[in-house]
Protein backbone atom coordinates (compact mmCIF):
# COMPACT_ATOMS: atom_id res chain seq x y z
CA UNK A 1 0.00 0.00 0.00
CA UNK A 2 2.01 3.06 0.64
CA UNK A 3 5.67 2.24 -0.10
CA UNK A 4 5.33 1.17 -3.69
CA UNK A 5 4.74 4.24 -5.84
CA UNK A 6 4.75 4.40 -9.49
CA UNK A 7 5.71 7.70 -11.49
CA UNK A 8 2.96 7.74 -14.14
CA UNK A 9 -0.65 8.77 -13.70
CA UNK A 10 -1.99 5.28 -13.89
CA UNK A 11 0.19 4.46 -11.08
CA UNK A 12 -1.17 7.51 -9.31
CA UNK A 13 -4.85 6.39 -10.03
CA UNK A 14 -3.94 2.98 -8.76
CA UNK A 15 -2.32 4.56 -5.72
CA UNK A 16 -5.41 6.68 -5.06
CA UNK A 17 -7.66 3.88 -5.53
CA UNK A 18 -5.32 2.05 -3.23
CA UNK A 19 -5.55 4.82 -0.73
CA UNK A 20 -9.38 5.00 -0.99
CA UNK A 21 -9.54 1.27 -0.39
CA UNK A 22 -7.23 1.54 2.56
CA UNK A 23 -9.43 4.33 4.01
CA UNK A 24 -12.46 2.10 3.53
CA UNK A 25 -10.56 -0.68 5.27
CA UNK A 26 -9.79 1.57 8.21
CA UNK A 27 -13.40 2.59 8.58
CA UNK A 28 -14.43 -1.08 8.51
CA UNK A 29 -11.97 -1.89 11.25
CA UNK A 30 -13.30 1.02 13.34
CA UNK A 31 -16.75 -0.34 12.93
CA UNK A 32 -15.47 -3.89 13.84
CA UNK A 33 -13.81 -2.36 16.88
CA UNK A 34 -17.03 -0.82 17.99
CA UNK A 35 -18.77 -4.15 17.54
CA UNK A 36 -15.96 -5.99 19.45
CA UNK A 37 -16.33 -3.47 22.25
CA UNK A 38 -19.99 -4.02 22.37
CA UNK A 39 -19.22 -7.85 22.30
CA UNK A 40 -16.83 -7.45 25.21
CA UNK A 41 -19.39 -5.51 27.22
CA UNK A 42 -21.91 -8.30 26.58
CA UNK A 43 -19.31 -10.93 27.52
CA UNK A 44 -18.57 -9.07 30.68
CA UNK A 45 -22.24 -8.99 31.52
CA UNK A 46 -22.42 -12.70 30.66
CA UNK A 47 -19.46 -13.42 33.01
CA UNK A 48 -21.33 -11.71 35.83
CA UNK A 49 -24.29 -13.77 35.11
CA UNK A 50 -21.98 -16.89 35.04
CA UNK A 51 -20.50 -16.05 38.37
CA UNK A 52 -23.96 -15.68 39.84
CA UNK A 53 -24.86 -18.96 38.38
CA UNK A 54 -21.64 -20.53 39.72
CA UNK A 55 -22.50 -19.27 43.20
CA UNK A 56 -25.80 -20.91 42.94
CA UNK A 57 -24.12 -24.04 41.50
CA UNK A 58 -21.69 -24.09 44.42
CA UNK A 59 -24.48 -23.95 46.86
CA UNK A 60 -26.03 -26.70 44.86
CA UNK A 61 -22.78 -28.76 44.98
CA UNK A 62 -22.52 -28.28 48.73
CA UNK A 63 -25.99 -29.65 49.00
CA UNK A 64 -25.12 -32.46 46.76
CA UNK A 65 -22.09 -33.34 48.86
CA UNK A 66 -24.26 -33.44 51.81
CA UNK A 67 -26.61 -35.68 49.99
CA UNK A 68 -23.67 -37.90 48.92
CA UNK A 69 -22.65 -38.31 52.56
CA UNK A 70 -26.15 -39.34 53.35
CA UNK A 71 -26.02 -41.71 50.36
CA UNK A 72 -22.75 -43.24 51.62
CA UNK A 73 -24.35 -43.97 54.97
CA UNK A 74 -27.32 -45.44 53.23
CA UNK A 75 -24.96 -47.50 51.02
CA UNK A 76 -23.22 -48.83 54.14
CA UNK A 77 -26.56 -49.92 55.46
CA UNK A 78 -27.44 -51.31 52.07
CA UNK A 79 -24.15 -53.27 51.96
CA UNK A 80 -24.89 -54.86 55.29
CA UNK A 81 -28.27 -55.68 53.92
CA UNK A 82 -26.63 -57.20 50.78
CA UNK A 83 -24.26 -59.29 52.91
CA UNK A 84 -27.24 -60.68 54.76
CA UNK A 85 -28.98 -61.28 51.55
CA UNK A 86 -25.87 -63.12 50.20
CA UNK A 87 -25.97 -65.36 53.20
CA UNK A 88 -29.65 -66.00 52.63
CA UNK A 89 -28.92 -66.74 48.98
CA UNK A 90 -26.32 -69.38 50.05
CA UNK A 91 -28.94 -71.03 52.23
CA UNK A 92 -31.41 -70.85 49.41
CA UNK A 93 -28.84 -72.41 47.03
CA UNK A 94 -28.36 -75.40 49.41
CA UNK A 95 -32.08 -75.78 49.65
CA UNK A 96 -32.32 -75.53 45.89
CA UNK A 97 -29.70 -78.35 45.55
CA UNK A 98 -31.89 -80.62 47.68
CA UNK A 99 -34.93 -79.45 45.84
CA UNK A 100 -33.21 -80.15 42.52
CA UNK A 101 -32.42 -83.73 43.54
CA UNK A 102 -36.00 -84.11 44.55
CA UNK A 103 -37.08 -82.69 41.20
CA UNK A 104 -34.68 -85.08 39.42
CA UNK A 105 -36.27 -88.05 41.16
CA UNK A 106 -39.67 -86.68 40.42
CA UNK A 107 -38.64 -86.23 36.81
CA UNK A 108 -37.51 -89.84 36.58
CA UNK A 109 -40.79 -90.92 38.08
CA UNK A 110 -42.55 -88.68 35.65
CA UNK A 111 -40.67 -90.26 32.77
CA UNK A 112 -41.65 -93.72 33.96
CA UNK A 113 -45.21 -92.52 34.24
CA UNK A 114 -44.85 -90.94 30.84
CA UNK A 115 -43.64 -94.29 29.41
CA UNK A 116 -46.50 -96.05 31.10
CA UNK A 117 -48.86 -93.38 29.89
CA UNK A 118 -47.50 -93.84 26.40
CA UNK A 119 -48.31 -97.56 26.57
CA UNK A 120 -51.64 -96.77 28.14
CA UNK A 121 -52.20 -94.21 25.40
CA UNK A 122 -51.51 -96.77 22.72
CA UNK A 123 -53.91 -99.11 24.45
CA UNK A 124 -56.46 -96.32 24.68
CA UNK A 125 -55.85 -95.54 21.05
CA UNK A 126 -56.53 -99.15 20.13
CA UNK A 127 -59.58 -99.19 22.34
CA UNK A 128 -60.68 -95.96 20.78
CA UNK A 129 -60.40 -97.49 17.34
CA UNK A 130 -62.37 -100.49 18.51
CA UNK A 131 -64.90 -98.19 20.05
CA UNK A 132 -65.17 -96.32 16.81
CA UNK A 133 -65.74 -99.57 14.96
CA UNK A 134 -68.32 -100.54 17.56
CA UNK A 135 -69.80 -97.10 17.30
CA UNK A 136 -70.02 -97.51 13.52
CA UNK A 137 -71.66 -100.89 13.98
CA UNK A 138 -73.92 -99.47 16.61
CA UNK A 139 -74.76 -96.73 14.20
CA UNK A 140 -75.90 -99.30 11.67
CA UNK A 141 -77.64 -101.31 14.37
CA UNK A 142 -79.31 -98.17 15.58
CA UNK A 143 -80.64 -97.45 12.15
CA UNK A 144 -81.90 -100.99 11.93
CA UNK A 145 -83.46 -100.67 15.38
CA UNK A 146 -84.95 -97.41 14.40
CA UNK A 147 -86.50 -99.05 11.38
CA UNK A 148 -87.68 -101.92 13.49
CA UNK A 149 -89.06 -99.52 16.03
CA UNK A 150 -91.02 -97.83 13.34
CA UNK A 151 -92.30 -101.17 12.17
CA UNK A 152 -93.11 -102.12 15.73
CA UNK A 153 -94.98 -98.94 16.20
CA UNK A 154 -96.98 -99.70 13.09
CA UNK A 155 -97.58 -103.21 14.38
CA UNK A 156 -98.43 -101.84 17.79
CA UNK A 157 -100.96 -99.55 16.20
CA UNK A 158 -102.40 -102.46 14.28
CA UNK A 159 -102.36 -104.60 17.40
CA UNK A 160 -104.07 -101.93 19.35
CA UNK A 161 -106.87 -101.99 16.78
CA UNK A 162 -106.90 -105.77 16.80
CA UNK A 163 -106.94 -105.74 20.61
CA UNK A 164 -109.98 -103.58 20.67
CA UNK A 165 -111.60 -105.91 18.19
CA UNK A 166 -110.61 -108.90 20.35
CA UNK A 167 -111.84 -107.25 23.48
CA UNK A 168 -115.17 -106.80 21.77
CA UNK A 169 -115.16 -110.36 20.58
CA UNK A 170 -114.17 -111.51 24.06
CA UNK A 171 -117.15 -109.81 25.50
CA UNK A 172 -119.31 -111.48 22.91
CA UNK A 173 -117.66 -114.78 23.65
CA UNK A 174 -118.24 -114.39 27.34
CA UNK A 175 -121.86 -113.78 26.64
CA UNK A 176 -121.93 -116.84 24.40
CA UNK A 177 -119.97 -118.82 27.02
CA UNK A 178 -122.54 -117.93 29.64
CA UNK A 179 -125.26 -119.03 27.27
CA UNK A 180 -123.31 -122.17 26.49
CA UNK A 181 -122.89 -123.01 30.15
CA UNK A 182 -126.63 -122.99 30.51
CA UNK A 183 -127.03 -124.97 27.30
CA UNK A 184 -124.34 -127.39 28.47
CA UNK A 185 -126.13 -128.05 31.71
CA UNK A 186 -129.22 -128.76 29.72
CA UNK A 187 -127.25 -131.03 27.40
CA UNK A 188 -125.56 -132.78 30.29
CA UNK A 189 -128.95 -133.57 31.69
CA UNK A 190 -130.19 -134.73 28.32
CA UNK A 191 -127.01 -136.76 27.86
CA UNK A 192 -127.55 -138.53 31.12
CA UNK A 193 -131.06 -139.33 30.04
CA UNK A 194 -129.77 -140.55 26.69
CA UNK A 195 -127.12 -142.67 28.34
CA UNK A 196 -129.77 -144.25 30.48
CA UNK A 197 -131.86 -144.86 27.37
CA UNK A 198 -128.80 -146.19 25.50
CA UNK A 199 -127.93 -148.55 28.33
CA UNK A 200 -131.54 -149.73 28.38
CA UNK A 201 -131.45 -150.15 24.63
CA UNK A 202 -128.24 -152.17 24.74
CA UNK A 203 -129.81 -154.48 27.27
CA UNK A 204 -133.03 -154.66 25.25
CA UNK A 205 -131.02 -155.34 22.09
CA UNK A 206 -129.09 -158.13 23.73
CA UNK A 207 -132.30 -159.60 25.02
CA UNK A 208 -133.81 -159.34 21.58
CA UNK A 209 -130.84 -161.02 19.95
CA UNK A 210 -130.83 -163.71 22.61
CA UNK A 211 -134.51 -164.19 21.97
CA UNK A 212 -133.86 -164.36 18.22
CA UNK A 213 -131.19 -166.91 18.79
CA UNK A 214 -133.21 -169.13 21.11
CA UNK A 215 -136.38 -168.94 19.07
CA UNK A 216 -134.56 -169.62 15.82
CA UNK A 217 -132.72 -172.47 17.43
CA UNK A 218 -135.88 -174.04 18.77
CA UNK A 219 -137.79 -173.47 15.52
CA UNK A 220 -135.26 -175.64 13.72
CA UNK A 221 -136.47 -178.86 15.27
CA UNK A 222 -140.18 -178.80 14.38
CA UNK A 223 -139.31 -177.48 10.92
CA UNK A 224 -136.85 -180.28 10.32
CA UNK A 225 -139.44 -182.81 11.35
CA UNK A 226 -142.02 -181.33 8.96
CA UNK A 227 -139.42 -181.58 6.20
CA UNK A 228 -138.56 -185.15 7.10
CA UNK A 229 -142.20 -186.22 7.20
CA UNK A 230 -142.78 -184.61 3.82
CA UNK A 231 -139.90 -186.55 2.34
CA UNK A 232 -141.11 -189.76 3.97
CA UNK A 233 -144.59 -189.30 2.46
CA UNK A 234 -143.14 -188.38 -0.94
CA UNK A 235 -140.90 -191.43 -0.80
CA UNK A 236 -143.22 -194.03 0.67
CA UNK A 237 -146.65 -192.83 -0.47
CA UNK A 238 -145.66 -191.55 -3.87
CA UNK A 239 -147.96 -193.87 -5.82
CA UNK A 240 -150.91 -193.14 -3.49
CA UNK A 241 -150.73 -189.40 -4.12
CA UNK A 242 -152.51 -187.60 -6.94
CA UNK A 243 -150.48 -185.38 -9.25
CA UNK A 244 -151.90 -182.37 -7.45
CA UNK A 245 -151.13 -183.84 -4.03
CA UNK A 246 -147.52 -184.46 -5.06
CA UNK A 247 -147.23 -180.88 -6.38
CA UNK A 248 -148.60 -179.47 -3.13
CA UNK A 249 -146.18 -181.55 -1.11
CA UNK A 250 -143.34 -180.28 -3.26
CA UNK A 251 -144.48 -176.68 -2.63
CA UNK A 252 -144.62 -177.46 1.07
CA UNK A 253 -141.07 -178.77 0.83
CA UNK A 254 -139.89 -175.57 -0.88
CA UNK A 255 -141.59 -173.38 1.71
CA UNK A 256 -140.05 -175.41 4.51
CA UNK A 257 -136.68 -175.14 2.79
CA UNK A 258 -136.95 -171.36 2.68
CA UNK A 259 -137.94 -171.29 6.31
CA UNK A 260 -134.90 -173.36 7.14
CA UNK A 261 -132.70 -170.92 5.25
CA UNK A 262 -134.27 -168.03 7.14
CA UNK A 263 -133.75 -169.68 10.48
CA UNK A 264 -130.14 -170.52 9.64
CA UNK A 265 -129.46 -166.92 8.63
CA UNK A 266 -131.22 -165.49 11.68
CA UNK A 267 -129.18 -167.78 13.86
CA UNK A 268 -125.99 -166.72 12.15
CA UNK A 269 -126.96 -163.05 12.54
CA UNK A 270 -127.79 -163.27 16.22
CA UNK A 271 -124.73 -165.41 16.85
CA UNK A 272 -122.51 -162.79 15.24
CA UNK A 273 -124.07 -160.18 17.50
CA UNK A 274 -123.89 -162.09 20.76
CA UNK A 275 -120.78 -164.24 20.81
CA UNK A 276 -117.58 -163.22 22.48
CA UNK A 277 -115.12 -161.42 20.21
CA UNK A 278 -111.69 -163.02 20.15
CA UNK A 279 -109.22 -161.33 17.83
CA UNK A 280 -106.24 -163.18 16.43
CA UNK A 281 -103.70 -162.54 13.71
CA UNK A 282 -104.98 -164.57 10.78
CA UNK A 283 -103.86 -165.07 7.19
CA UNK A 284 -106.73 -163.81 5.05
CA UNK A 285 -105.64 -166.15 2.30
CA UNK A 286 -106.34 -169.21 4.49
CA UNK A 287 -109.86 -167.99 5.14
CA UNK A 288 -110.46 -167.35 1.44
CA UNK A 289 -109.17 -170.83 0.59
CA UNK A 290 -111.57 -172.38 3.12
CA UNK A 291 -114.48 -170.42 1.70
CA UNK A 292 -113.50 -171.41 -1.84
CA UNK A 293 -113.49 -175.04 -0.76
CA UNK A 294 -116.98 -174.64 0.77
CA UNK A 295 -118.27 -173.02 -2.43
CA UNK A 296 -116.45 -175.41 -4.77
CA UNK A 297 -119.63 -176.65 -6.47
CA UNK A 298 -121.12 -173.21 -7.06
CA UNK A 299 -117.80 -171.95 -8.39
CA UNK A 300 -117.74 -174.78 -10.93
CA UNK A 301 -121.38 -174.27 -11.84
CA UNK A 302 -120.88 -170.53 -12.49
CA UNK A 303 -117.55 -171.04 -14.27
CA UNK A 304 -116.22 -168.54 -11.79
CA UNK A 305 -112.64 -167.53 -11.24
CA UNK A 306 -111.69 -166.08 -7.90
CA UNK A 307 -108.57 -164.00 -8.24
CA UNK A 308 -106.76 -163.21 -5.03
CA UNK A 309 -104.20 -160.54 -5.82
CA UNK A 310 -102.46 -158.93 -2.92
CA UNK A 311 -103.46 -160.39 0.42
CA UNK A 312 -101.93 -160.27 3.87
CA UNK A 313 -102.86 -161.07 7.42
CA UNK A 314 -105.15 -159.13 9.73
CA UNK A 315 -106.17 -159.04 13.37
CA UNK A 316 -109.63 -160.56 13.10
CA UNK A 317 -112.25 -162.76 14.71
CA UNK A 318 -111.42 -165.68 12.45
CA UNK A 319 -114.72 -167.60 12.40
CA UNK A 320 -116.71 -164.41 11.86
CA UNK A 321 -114.43 -163.29 9.09
CA UNK A 322 -114.84 -166.66 7.41
CA UNK A 323 -118.59 -166.08 7.48
CA UNK A 324 -118.08 -162.57 6.11
CA UNK A 325 -115.98 -163.80 3.18
CA UNK A 326 -118.40 -166.67 2.62
CA UNK A 327 -121.37 -164.31 2.41
CA UNK A 328 -119.61 -161.84 0.11
CA UNK A 329 -118.24 -164.48 -2.25
CA UNK A 330 -121.45 -166.50 -2.35
CA UNK A 331 -123.34 -163.27 -3.02
CA UNK A 332 -120.99 -162.44 -5.87
CA UNK A 333 -121.58 -165.91 -7.30
CA UNK A 334 -125.34 -165.76 -6.77
CA UNK A 335 -125.69 -162.36 -8.46
CA UNK A 336 -123.33 -163.17 -11.31
CA UNK A 337 -124.18 -162.17 -14.87
CA UNK A 338 -125.54 -165.33 -16.57
CA UNK A 339 -124.02 -164.31 -19.90
CA UNK A 340 -120.39 -164.10 -18.82
CA UNK A 341 -118.19 -166.22 -16.54
CA UNK A 342 -118.11 -164.84 -13.04
CA UNK A 343 -114.87 -163.13 -12.11
CA UNK A 344 -114.24 -162.15 -8.50
CA UNK A 345 -111.19 -160.16 -7.46
CA UNK A 346 -110.15 -160.03 -3.82
CA UNK A 347 -107.30 -157.97 -2.47
CA UNK A 348 -106.15 -156.35 0.73
CA UNK A 349 -103.65 -153.71 1.68
CA UNK A 350 -102.69 -151.59 4.66
CA UNK A 351 -103.65 -147.94 4.20
CA UNK A 352 -103.30 -144.87 6.44
CA UNK A 353 -106.73 -143.59 7.51
CA UNK A 354 -105.99 -140.08 6.26
CA UNK A 355 -105.80 -141.37 2.69
CA UNK A 356 -109.19 -143.04 2.81
CA UNK A 357 -111.11 -139.79 3.04
CA UNK A 358 -113.89 -141.20 5.17
CA UNK A 359 -115.12 -139.28 8.20
CA UNK A 360 -115.88 -142.47 10.10
CA UNK A 361 -112.21 -143.50 9.95
CA UNK A 362 -109.50 -142.03 12.15
CA UNK A 363 -106.84 -140.28 10.00
CA UNK A 364 -103.95 -141.42 12.23
CA UNK A 365 -104.79 -145.10 12.26
CA UNK A 366 -103.71 -147.73 9.78
CA UNK A 367 -106.47 -149.73 8.17
CA UNK A 368 -106.60 -153.07 6.45
CA UNK A 369 -108.54 -152.34 3.30
CA UNK A 370 -110.12 -155.47 1.80
CA UNK A 371 -111.88 -155.31 -1.53
CA UNK A 372 -114.24 -157.90 -3.01
CA UNK A 373 -115.14 -156.97 -6.58
CA UNK A 374 -117.24 -158.88 -9.07
CA UNK A 375 -118.51 -158.53 -12.63
CA UNK A 376 -122.08 -159.54 -11.80
CA UNK A 377 -125.44 -157.85 -12.26
CA UNK A 378 -124.74 -155.19 -9.63
CA UNK A 379 -127.45 -152.86 -8.34
CA UNK A 380 -128.59 -149.28 -8.66
CA UNK A 381 -126.32 -146.91 -6.68
CA UNK A 382 -129.13 -145.65 -4.43
CA UNK A 383 -129.45 -149.12 -2.88
CA UNK A 384 -125.86 -149.06 -1.64
CA UNK A 385 -126.87 -148.50 2.02
CA UNK A 386 -130.15 -150.40 2.04
CA UNK A 387 -128.61 -153.71 0.98
CA UNK A 388 -126.93 -153.93 4.39
CA UNK A 389 -130.23 -153.82 6.29
CA UNK A 390 -131.86 -156.99 7.64
CA UNK A 391 -134.45 -158.59 5.33
CA UNK A 392 -133.74 -156.09 2.53
CA UNK A 393 -133.84 -157.79 -0.84
CA UNK A 394 -133.67 -156.35 -4.33
CA UNK A 395 -135.03 -159.42 -6.12
CA UNK A 396 -138.05 -161.69 -5.78
CA UNK A 397 -137.42 -165.06 -4.13
CA UNK A 398 -138.39 -166.85 -7.33
CA UNK A 399 -135.46 -165.24 -9.13
CA UNK A 400 -132.80 -165.26 -6.45
CA UNK A 401 -133.15 -167.31 -3.29
CA UNK A 402 -132.13 -165.69 -0.05
CA UNK A 403 -133.40 -164.12 3.10
CA UNK A 404 -131.94 -160.64 2.94
CA UNK A 405 -129.83 -161.29 6.00
CA UNK A 406 -126.49 -162.18 4.43
CA UNK A 407 -125.18 -158.62 4.01
CA UNK A 408 -126.62 -157.57 7.37
CA UNK A 409 -124.44 -160.30 8.88
CA UNK A 410 -121.48 -158.98 6.86
CA UNK A 411 -122.03 -155.47 8.17
CA UNK A 412 -122.41 -156.70 11.75
CA UNK A 413 -119.15 -158.60 11.48
CA UNK A 414 -117.33 -155.56 10.11
CA UNK A 415 -118.74 -153.51 12.99
CA UNK A 416 -117.55 -156.15 15.43
CA UNK A 417 -114.10 -155.47 13.96
CA UNK A 418 -114.57 -151.71 14.57
CA UNK A 419 -114.53 -151.19 10.83
CA UNK A 420 -116.81 -149.97 8.10
CA UNK A 421 -118.05 -151.48 4.85
CA UNK A 422 -119.25 -149.69 1.74
CA UNK A 423 -120.77 -151.00 -1.46
CA UNK A 424 -120.49 -149.34 -4.85
CA UNK A 425 -122.22 -150.51 -7.95
CA UNK A 426 -124.21 -149.66 -11.02
CA UNK A 427 -126.78 -151.89 -12.57
CA UNK A 428 -125.10 -154.57 -14.73
CA UNK A 429 -121.66 -153.20 -14.00
CA UNK A 430 -120.60 -155.46 -11.17
CA UNK A 431 -120.40 -154.63 -7.48
CA UNK A 432 -117.50 -153.67 -5.28
CA UNK A 433 -117.42 -154.09 -1.52
CA UNK A 434 -114.79 -152.15 0.43
CA UNK A 435 -114.04 -153.18 3.98
CA UNK A 436 -111.83 -151.09 6.30
CA UNK A 437 -110.81 -152.59 9.62
CA UNK A 438 -108.15 -151.20 11.97
CA UNK A 439 -104.82 -152.88 11.30
CA UNK A 440 -103.35 -154.33 14.48
Amino acid sequence: MTSIKKPDEEELVITRKELALQKEEKEKLVEELIIARKELAFQKEEKGKRAAELGIANIELAYQDDEKGKRAVELGIANIELAFQDDEKGKRAAELGIANKELLFQNEEKEKRAAELSIANKELLFQNEEKEKRAAELGIANKELLFQNEEKEKRAAELSIANKELAFQNEEKEKRAAELIIANKELAFQNEEKEKRAAELIIANKELLAFTYISSHDLQEPLRKIQTFVTIILENENENLSENGRYNFQRMQLAAGRMQLLIDDLLAFSRVATTELIFEKTELNLIIEEVKADLKDTILEKHATIEVTEIGSANIIAFQFRQLMYNLISNALKFSNPDIPSHIIIDSKIVKGVKLNNEKLSPEKNYCHITVKDNGIGFEPHFSDRIFEVFQKLHGKEVYTGTGIGLAIVKKIVENHNGIITATSELNKGACFDIYIPAG
Partner: protein, 148 residues
Protein backbone atom coordinates in the same frame (compact mmCIF):
# COMPACT_ATOMS: atom_id res chain seq x y z
CA UNK B 1 -119.66 -205.28 5.54
CA UNK B 2 -119.66 -206.89 8.93
CA UNK B 3 -122.39 -209.51 9.08
CA UNK B 4 -122.49 -209.50 12.87
CA UNK B 5 -125.56 -207.79 14.31
CA UNK B 6 -124.84 -204.25 15.47
CA UNK B 7 -126.19 -203.27 18.87
CA UNK B 8 -127.25 -199.64 18.74
CA UNK B 9 -128.35 -197.42 21.61
CA UNK B 10 -130.22 -194.23 20.80
CA UNK B 11 -130.73 -191.56 23.48
CA UNK B 12 -133.30 -189.04 22.25
CA UNK B 13 -136.26 -187.47 24.01
CA UNK B 14 -138.03 -186.74 20.72
CA UNK B 15 -140.53 -189.35 19.68
CA UNK B 16 -140.47 -188.34 16.00
CA UNK B 17 -136.70 -188.52 15.84
CA UNK B 18 -136.75 -191.98 17.41
CA UNK B 19 -139.31 -192.97 14.73
CA UNK B 20 -137.15 -191.56 11.89
CA UNK B 21 -134.15 -193.41 13.28
CA UNK B 22 -135.85 -196.77 13.52
CA UNK B 23 -137.37 -196.29 10.04
CA UNK B 24 -133.97 -195.53 8.64
CA UNK B 25 -132.47 -198.60 10.31
CA UNK B 26 -135.21 -200.78 8.87
CA UNK B 27 -134.44 -199.46 5.42
CA UNK B 28 -130.79 -200.46 5.76
CA UNK B 29 -129.51 -203.89 4.83
CA UNK B 30 -127.29 -204.21 7.89
CA UNK B 31 -128.61 -206.41 10.72
CA UNK B 32 -129.07 -204.10 13.72
CA UNK B 33 -130.67 -204.19 17.13
CA UNK B 34 -131.91 -200.82 18.43
CA UNK B 35 -132.44 -199.89 22.04
CA UNK B 36 -133.75 -196.42 22.94
CA UNK B 37 -133.72 -194.25 26.06
CA UNK B 38 -135.57 -190.93 26.43
CA UNK B 39 -133.21 -188.87 28.60
CA UNK B 40 -129.64 -188.66 29.94
CA UNK B 41 -130.37 -190.22 33.32
CA UNK B 42 -131.96 -193.24 31.67
CA UNK B 43 -128.99 -193.52 29.31
CA UNK B 44 -126.46 -193.70 32.13
CA UNK B 45 -128.67 -196.13 34.07
CA UNK B 46 -128.97 -198.35 31.00
CA UNK B 47 -125.18 -198.36 30.51
CA UNK B 48 -124.44 -199.26 34.12
CA UNK B 49 -127.08 -202.03 34.05
CA UNK B 50 -125.65 -203.49 30.85
CA UNK B 51 -121.97 -203.23 31.62
CA UNK B 52 -121.44 -206.77 30.45
CA UNK B 53 -123.25 -206.25 27.18
CA UNK B 54 -122.54 -202.73 26.08
CA UNK B 55 -123.85 -201.47 22.73
CA UNK B 56 -121.52 -201.22 19.76
CA UNK B 57 -122.37 -197.57 19.28
CA UNK B 58 -124.36 -194.81 21.02
CA UNK B 59 -126.31 -192.12 19.16
CA UNK B 60 -126.64 -189.22 21.57
CA UNK B 61 -128.99 -186.27 21.30
CA UNK B 62 -127.77 -183.16 23.07
CA UNK B 63 -130.90 -181.40 24.23
CA UNK B 64 -132.59 -183.81 26.62
CA UNK B 65 -134.41 -183.36 29.92
CA UNK B 66 -132.89 -184.22 33.33
CA UNK B 67 -129.39 -184.83 32.01
CA UNK B 68 -128.26 -183.46 28.65
CA UNK B 69 -125.99 -185.02 26.07
CA UNK B 70 -122.89 -183.03 27.12
CA UNK B 71 -123.07 -184.35 30.66
CA UNK B 72 -123.60 -187.91 29.44
CA UNK B 73 -120.59 -187.67 27.10
CA UNK B 74 -118.35 -186.45 29.93
CA UNK B 75 -119.54 -189.22 32.26
CA UNK B 76 -119.03 -191.91 29.65
CA UNK B 77 -115.53 -190.71 28.76
CA UNK B 78 -114.52 -190.49 32.42
CA UNK B 79 -115.73 -193.98 33.19
CA UNK B 80 -113.04 -196.58 32.66
CA UNK B 81 -115.52 -199.24 31.64
CA UNK B 82 -117.40 -196.98 29.23
CA UNK B 83 -114.79 -194.71 27.76
CA UNK B 84 -114.09 -196.92 24.77
CA UNK B 85 -117.71 -196.71 23.62
CA UNK B 86 -118.08 -194.81 20.33
CA UNK B 87 -120.47 -191.90 20.95
CA UNK B 88 -122.02 -190.26 17.91
CA UNK B 89 -123.63 -186.91 18.52
CA UNK B 90 -126.96 -186.58 16.78
CA UNK B 91 -128.26 -183.06 17.04
CA UNK B 92 -130.53 -180.53 15.36
CA UNK B 93 -128.37 -177.54 16.07
CA UNK B 94 -124.97 -176.92 14.67
CA UNK B 95 -122.76 -174.54 16.62
CA UNK B 96 -119.07 -174.36 15.87
CA UNK B 97 -118.14 -173.87 19.55
CA UNK B 98 -120.31 -176.75 20.63
CA UNK B 99 -118.88 -179.00 17.93
CA UNK B 100 -115.32 -178.14 19.02
CA UNK B 101 -116.10 -178.88 22.63
CA UNK B 102 -117.68 -182.22 21.79
CA UNK B 103 -114.68 -183.23 19.72
CA UNK B 104 -112.39 -182.32 22.59
CA UNK B 105 -114.51 -184.28 25.02
CA UNK B 106 -114.08 -187.46 23.00
CA UNK B 107 -117.19 -187.80 20.84
CA UNK B 108 -116.49 -189.88 17.74
CA UNK B 109 -118.61 -188.15 15.14
CA UNK B 110 -121.02 -185.26 14.91
CA UNK B 111 -124.09 -185.54 12.75
CA UNK B 112 -126.55 -182.76 12.17
CA UNK B 113 -129.98 -184.31 11.93
CA UNK B 114 -130.92 -184.05 8.24
CA UNK B 115 -134.21 -182.64 7.10
CA UNK B 116 -134.73 -185.15 4.30
CA UNK B 117 -135.41 -188.78 5.07
CA UNK B 118 -133.16 -189.91 2.24
CA UNK B 119 -130.24 -188.09 3.82
CA UNK B 120 -131.19 -189.59 7.16
CA UNK B 121 -130.74 -193.05 5.81
CA UNK B 122 -127.56 -192.20 3.97
CA UNK B 123 -125.87 -190.72 6.98
CA UNK B 124 -126.66 -193.64 9.23
CA UNK B 125 -125.38 -196.00 6.55
CA UNK B 126 -122.21 -193.91 6.37
CA UNK B 127 -121.71 -194.14 10.11
CA UNK B 128 -121.95 -197.90 10.17
CA UNK B 129 -119.52 -198.17 7.30
CA UNK B 130 -117.02 -195.92 9.11
CA UNK B 131 -117.41 -197.74 12.41
CA UNK B 132 -116.82 -201.11 10.86
CA UNK B 133 -113.72 -199.81 9.05
CA UNK B 134 -111.99 -197.92 11.82
CA UNK B 135 -110.69 -199.77 14.82
CA UNK B 136 -111.78 -197.40 17.50
CA UNK B 137 -109.42 -194.81 16.10
CA UNK B 138 -110.93 -191.36 16.56
CA UNK B 139 -111.12 -189.31 13.35
CA UNK B 140 -109.27 -186.06 12.92
CA UNK B 141 -111.09 -182.78 13.60
CA UNK B 142 -111.85 -182.07 9.93
CA UNK B 143 -113.52 -185.48 9.56
CA UNK B 144 -115.43 -185.14 12.83
CA UNK B 145 -118.53 -183.59 11.34
CA UNK B 146 -120.29 -185.92 8.94
CA UNK B 147 -122.32 -184.55 6.07
CA UNK B 148 -124.22 -186.34 3.38
Amino acid sequence: MNTKQLNILLADDDKDDRLFFSMALEALTIPTKLATVVDGEKLMAYLFENEQQLPDVIFLDLNMPRKNGFECLLEIKRDQKLNQLPVIIFSTSFEQDVVNMLYKNGAKYFIRKPSEFLQFKKIIQQIFTLISQENMQNPSRENFVLTV
